[in-house]
Symmetry: none
Subunit: 290 residues, 2 copies
């Protein structure tokens, strides 16, 4: 009934010039956003208190890793297609979905670390929390991948099953983070409280995009298109655009939010440098008075 995927043509569905370019451009924009966020986070470390600098460092590393992967993702996208009379057609080279999963394997645990680092929870509490979150993140990503690479309409049910399995640790992470962020509100300085409430919301909204994008890429039409049937490939485009936007918000956007939380918590006590300035002024005044 449906054309069977072959070794050479299974890879990617034919796309219109518009569809191909939308994905190509969003990938380029993601590279720029991640790189810019990395510069901001690395170079902002000196404007927060010493104890919050590791949180900014880790946030900067997260977007650096994502910057590398989106550069490679775009390279793979360009290699998977060539321009023909009818639009963009597959070159036979597969588009490498694994880049995104390699990125998630490395960055999702680090996202948990940056959040825990900026909250400055108790050491024993932070450790137990991180252990649970990192294990759940690993499971979430590992269970999603087998579904992601299915490219035959016969595999629709299998894709739904993998997606559902992956959703269990996904919702667990969101639940744990929501509860922890809410509980931590009491111990945070007032200036940071509002920001943590925002970050709770940003987390919920940006993370919600991932399963939605996954679902778009797994519609029957998308799988038929992936298998080489000339139907509607817009689900594939929606998946790529959805993931890219979610990654930008959940990594670069969230990183900037981490900076503002660190900044707000630093202001509560004054930054190291302000304290040094203040003590120098005291010393100068004392000298002047003597």
């Amino acid at each position: 009934m449906f054309p069977q995927p072959t070794v050479l043509a299974a890879a990617m569905p034919d796309l219109t010039i518009f569809q191909y370019s939308v994905v190509d451009n969003i990938f380029s924009m993601t590279v720029a956003t991640m790189g810019a966020a990395a510069l901001f986070l690395f170079l902002s470390r000196s404007s927060v208190d010493r104890e919050y600098r590791p949180a900014l460092l880790i946030s900067g590393i997260v977007v650096s890793i994502a910057c590398y992967h989106y550069f490679m993702i775009r390279h793979s996208w360009n290699g998977a297609y060539e321009l023909a009379e009818t639009g963009y057609i597959s070159t036979g080279a597969a588009f490498n979905d694994f880049y995104r999963y390699a990125d998630w394997i490395l960055t999702v645990p680090l996202l948990m670390v940056e959040l825990v680092a900026v909250l400055r929870l108790q050491k024993s509490k932070a450790r137990s929390l991180l252990t649970r979150l990192v294990i759940a993140a690993g499971l979430m990503i590992a269970l999603g991948y087998p579904g992601e690479v299915i490219s035959s309409p016969d595999g629709w049910m299998a894709r739904v099953v993998w997606g559902t399995l992956s959703s269990i640790p996904f919702f667990y992470i969101l639940y744990v983070l929501w509860v922890e962020l809410t509980a931590s509100l009491q111990t945070q300085p007032p200036a940071a409280r509002k920001l943590i409430e925002i970050s709770r919301l940003v987390l919920l909204i940006t993370w919600a995009v991932y399963p939605i994008a996954y679902a778009f890429g797994g519609t029957e039409a998308a799988l038929i298109a992936k298998a080489g049937g000339a139907v509607d490939a817009s689900g594939i485009v929606a998946l790529q655009v959805g993931y890219a936007i979610a990654d930008m918000t959940a990594k670069a956007g969230f990183g900037v939010l981490i900076y503002f939380i660190a900044r707000a918590k630093s202001s509560a006590t004054g930054t190291d440098d302000e304290r040094v300035d203040a003590s120098q002024k005291v010393a100068q005044a004392a000298t002047a008075g003597a």
Copy 2:
């Protein structure tokens, strides 16, 4: 009996799309991991005491060198293969094993230096230790290489001999490091002791992967596949994946461990900046009292 390797075609066995992609993806992930570790180690120097910063600097350089080499290793891998109807076939260009050995020649001695630097052994002791370790590391790598490039089943015995010769300095290094790490435990602050015990274990486990990967790449099936006989190439895949995982753990993972040791030893006396803060407080108190 077996097709003899020629200059152009000896290089690499045919691989399935899956086999090729596993190696390609693990190389990309290694590039990302090494780069991320380099950023972390370079930018974390300010959060440890001055005397431990050289250890982090060297650790950062080690992963930077590895990042470059894995980028090149991947480039060579991509150049050695092309996609055909049956999977990936050799282009005739050889896969360059020397990148990995060049990496080891540069990084293994530096790994010894970073370990000795973070332990802060007595100067005379450190010098004699390093001399012995660096010579042994050079011998280990130089003796392993002739076996690595053998790509004919006739050379199986020769590969075993080179591998065995290379194992002598390999075990010597592990023995010396184990003894030294154990002896150093007494002079280390309690906070660092647990971490040094962990690093002793990490060293033993990650280094054990190298000879195992070497053995996988030297099975008769692997050598026949390398020589162009269409048998089972999974040994070749196991060697590449094994080396990549071992390199990630022994360099990036070990570097992060070095950071934690440095951090633990810094906390034992307070970081430079904390000491500055404390001395300022003393100065302020003195001024206030006067």
